[in-house]
């Protein structure tokens, strides 16, 4: 009996190892990873997921390698950072943006990647190597590139805006959407005012805050992903958002238009990293290599609509966004851009408390006080009346 089982096992192993070898056309043998798992933590809507006949990247990876992918998503860098910092979960793959990579590297939260396992790294364009947050290219592999721009509805905005100033124009009061995260909201304002995005002068941050406060009465709402809904339905006239997302919105509302304001804007690179505490580093590296492969990267670029740092995609004739000027502006049309850098703790603190201040001031402050005071007066009055009545009754009985 024992023999039979071991025979079956051996057979199974032969079967399992032969199958992936035919699929993964790489020099190295990774069959020992079959049956393991990797935990991938990515932005929402940031991978081709098989919807509408696209490639399901995670499923394909599982089929080819036999490594199970546990996929979860986050919606801000800070959210992801807090989760990892808190130590609540182990991830093998994360995709932070530039400034967050810088911060995580400073805090020694990232593992060195073994590039021997990632031959497809040669697909990455040279201009996205040696970036400031990872000067030695040891910790990160660029995944997507993007810029922030102004999206507006041509039915509601008759002029052709070329400046962030239009977001401060009283004509559009109640129709402006603003970022609901401090870094991007301050970023736009700093661009508009001509302040360095990473300024260490607290006066600059206060100036930007004043400008944001000036804008607040005009803002319809502060949004992140709700922006899709509101711009597509024509609920709002304009917003600042990521260029790639404009292309997704335009598919649903052809009235939308896009511009990179002349004052300049923020450019970002989201890169794949392996955090410290990962359980399956080799599996993670295999996954990174898989993401860089031509067909997978192409499927992702088509699905996400962000600019790709992958040569094999950009030079591919099948790539439908290849000539999209918003993603790949001609060298002469390239807007002025700046990266976000990680801010020192005291500036981060300043920024978030200014942001809190912006948010806590309502337009109905007096009515709150009036309401609360009258409520208290009524309540106290009622209590006094009751005690008096009670005493009177006690006397009666």
């Amino acid at each position: 009996m024992k023999k039979l089982i071991s025979c079956l096992c051996a057979l199974a192993i032969v079967f399992l190892t032969v199958a992936p070898l035919t699929a993964v056309a790489s020099a190295k043998d990774y069959s020992h990873l079959r049956g393991t798992e990797i935990n991938v933590y990515n932005w929402g809507e940031y991978i081709s997921d098989g919807a509408e006949g696209t490639m399901d990247v995670n499923k394909k990876f599982e089929e080819e390698t036999g490594i199970k992918v546990n996929y979860t998503t986050y919606d801000t860098n800070e959210n992801m950072y807090n989760k990892i910092k808190g130590g609540g979960a182990n991830y093998d793959i994360i995709i932070p943006s530039d400034y967050m990579i810088q911060r995580m590297l400073e805090e020694e939260m990232l593992e060195k990647i073994n590039f021997d396992n990632i031959p497809n790294y040669s697909n990455i364009m040279d201009e996205y190597k040696d970036l400031y947050f990872d000067p030695t290219n040891e910790y990160s592999v660029p995944y997507n590139v993007g810029m922030v721009g102004l999206i507006y509805n041509t039915k509601l905005v008759t002029e052709t805006p070329d400046s962030w100033g239009v977001m401060w124009d009283e004509k559009y009061s109640g129709q402006i959407l603003m970022f609901n995260n401090p870094r991007d909201a301050f970023g736009i304002t700093q661009c508009y005012l001509g302040i360095d995005l990473n300024t260490s002068d607290s006066n600059d941050w206060h100036r930007a805050y004043d400008k944001l406060k000036e804008q607040k009465p005009l803002v319809s709402s502060y949004v992140m992903d709700d922006v899709f809904n509101k711009m597509e339905s024509g609920e709002a006239a304009m917003c600042a958002y990521y260029a790639g997302d404009y292309l997704s919105m335009k598919e649903n509302n052809p009235d939308l238009s896009f511009v990179y304001p002349k004052e300049g804007t923020n450019i970002f690179v989201d890169s794949v990293c392996i955090p410290v505490g990962c359980q399956n580093k080799e599996g993670a590296e295999l996954y990174i290599n898989f993401l860089l492969r031509e067909d997978v990267a192409l499927a992702n670029a088509e699905y996400i609509c962000y600019a790709s740092p992958n040569k094999a995609v950009v030079n591919n004739d099948e790539y439908s966004l290849k000539d999209e000027e918003i993603l790949y502006p001609a060298p002469g049309d390239m807007p002025k851009t700046q990266y976000y850098h990680n801010l020192p703790p005291e500036l981060l603190m300043l920024m978030t408390s200014l942001w809190d201040n912006l948010k806590i001031e309502g337009n109905d402050d007096t009515s709150i006080y009036v309401g609360l005071i009258s409520f208290t007066v009524i309540a106290v009055g009622y209590a006094v009346y009751r005690t008096i009545r009670k005493k009177r009754r006690e006397r009666m009985y």
Binding site: Y222, D356, K359, I360, D364, G371, A379
Partner: protein, 278 residues
């Protein structure tokens, strides 16, 4: 004589005690610890002194909570009475109708209100068809309070309804026989005997309303923050757990005070009535 608990009883209650200790008492201690320390773990009062800047936010949260609770009470009380008065079959259907929306996810329900209230939304679309001008409803404090009322109304209806069903009809009849008019019956018989339901309903609506954060972001447009939003931001964006803990601590204390005042009202009344009835 005080009964001594047997070993079996102790064994039965211990899982519950251990559970409460780990998941209620320890987290509370941690909140207090974080509230009085800085990022490096040193003792500090800074978190508490910083709270002064957020007075308006605290007051706004409490005010919205009060308004939402009052509206809930005004809607829920007659409704609970009507449900409790109807036939058994109708009763179960109506209770079901109250409960069904609660089976749907809270976030989804709030999100759909966004679509309803928008300037180009469903409600304005209908209003325009019948000739009433479009109203600006989304991103106002009214929309936020509406969201609170809608989401927490069942928590007001159900406890009041439960007490109503236990209402002794003979008391009402006795009052009527003794010549009390309808208002008198409601004021002096029905309301006092259902007060316990009202008090627990108020607690169950007021507490989540005060500390809510999602509703104000979606229906209020994020332009005026409630205290729940600020707390959420400390944990999700600012990574300032200590200040977040201080805010939560003060919010807890405020709610406790409000509840204590509330219960004072409830207790007073019941004891007075009880005394009178005897």
């Amino acid at each position: 004589m005080k009964k001594k608990s047997t070993l079996a009883q102790k064994l039965c209650t211990s899982p519950h005690i251990v559970w409460s200790a780990i998941f209620i008492v320890v987290p509370l201690i941690m909140v207090v610890y974080y509230a009085f320390t800085d990022a490096n773990g040193a003792f500090t009062f800074d978190n508490i002194t910083r709270l002064g800047d957020y007075t308006t936010t605290f007051l706004r949260s409490i005010w919205y909570g009060i308004v939402a609770t009052i509206i809930c009470l005004i809607i829920a009380y007659p409704l609970a009475y009507i449900i409790a008065q109807s036939k058994a079959k109708v009763q179960s259907t109506m209770v079901m109708l109250v409960m069904i929306p609660m089976w749907m996810n809270f976030l989804l329900r709030t999100y759909s209100w966004m679509t309803l209230l928008e300037d180009n939304g469903v409600i304005n679309g209908i209003l325009e068809k019948i000739g009433l001008g479009p109203f600006h409803m989304i991103n106002t404090s009214g929309a936020v309070i509406l969201g609170m009322v809608y989401n927490f109304l069942p928590y007001m209806i159900l406890p009041i309804y439960t007490v109503m069903t236990k209402l002794d009809r003979s008391l009402v009849e006795a009052a009527q026989d003794l010549g009390a008019n309808k208002i008198r019956v409601l004021k002096d018989v029905i309301f006092p005997s259902t007060l316990s339901g009202v008090v627990s309903g108020i607690t169950m609506v007021f507490v989540p309303s005060v500390s809510t954060f999602y509703i104000s972001q979606k229906l209020g447009g994020g332009s005026f923050a409630l205290i729940g939003d600020i707390i959420e931001m400390q944990f999700q964006v600012s990574n300032n757990f200590n200040f977040g803990a201080a805010l939560s601590l003060v919010l807890m204390v405020l709610i406790l005070i409000c509840m204590a005042v509330m219960n004072k009202f409830g207790d007073d009344d019941e004891s007075a009535r009880g005394g009178m009835m005897i």
